[in-house]
Symmetry: C2
Subunit: 91 residues, 2 copies
DNA sequence: CCATAAGTACGACCGTCGTCAAACTTTGAT
DNA sequence: ATCAAAGTTTGACGACGGTCGTACTTATGG
């Protein structure tokens, strides 16, 4: 839980989770709308992965990211819902 | 939202919120089970207050703390519920 | 009036975190 | 074989946040 919150408190990482939640399929690392360098992006994906929020797999040179929503909903019911709500994203 | 998450990511502050949520009435600053000095405690209460999570008022020399659950539930539905759930506290 | 209790305010210290650039790896295409 | 695309790794830097001690304020009780 502590680890999950530490992952979600960063705006960039929360944006990644939000974009993943809104997408209808998995997303490559380079396809996110985040304004940081590649190395910083790699760092953020690592934090999200180690917190159990995403799963990653390769497709050619692209590393795909999948939101582990079911696992999260089981471990922390309501948390991702509370964060990906449209009004939550706005405020 | 960002401010609320930054307030809730600290274990001491989340413990304060949890204890407030479990209590059936408001709690004085000195009555919490937190292992930090007085000045550090004051700092944490200030962060919680500025994030809108608690309200404070004096009763003699004691400063009472009230959880603003209704305001939070309106602004960020499900967030406090997700964090104060017994299984959330455990994990 | 004085002492004690309950917090607050102010600096200071230190660790952690987000950030980047540069060098490297691996895969796929020409 | 070469080259480009996509990430990773490493190291460094700077800022912010949690912590504490000390000094200060305010209120209650004897």
């Amino acid at each position: 839980m502590q680890q999950v919150l530490e992952a979600l408190v960063d705006p960039v990482r929360r944006s990644i989770v939000t974009q993943l939640s809104a997408a209808d399929s998995d997303v490559a690392c380079g396809a996110f709308a985040i304004a940081v360098s590649k190395s910083t992006a790699t760092h953020h994906f690592k934090v999200l992965r180690e917190a159990g929020l995403i799963r990653q797999y390769y497709v050619g040179t692209a590393r795909m990211n999948a939101l582990r929503r079911a696992d999260m909903d089981e471990a922390f019911p309501g948390l991702l819902d509370a964060l990906t709500t449209p009004q939550a994203r706005q405020r």
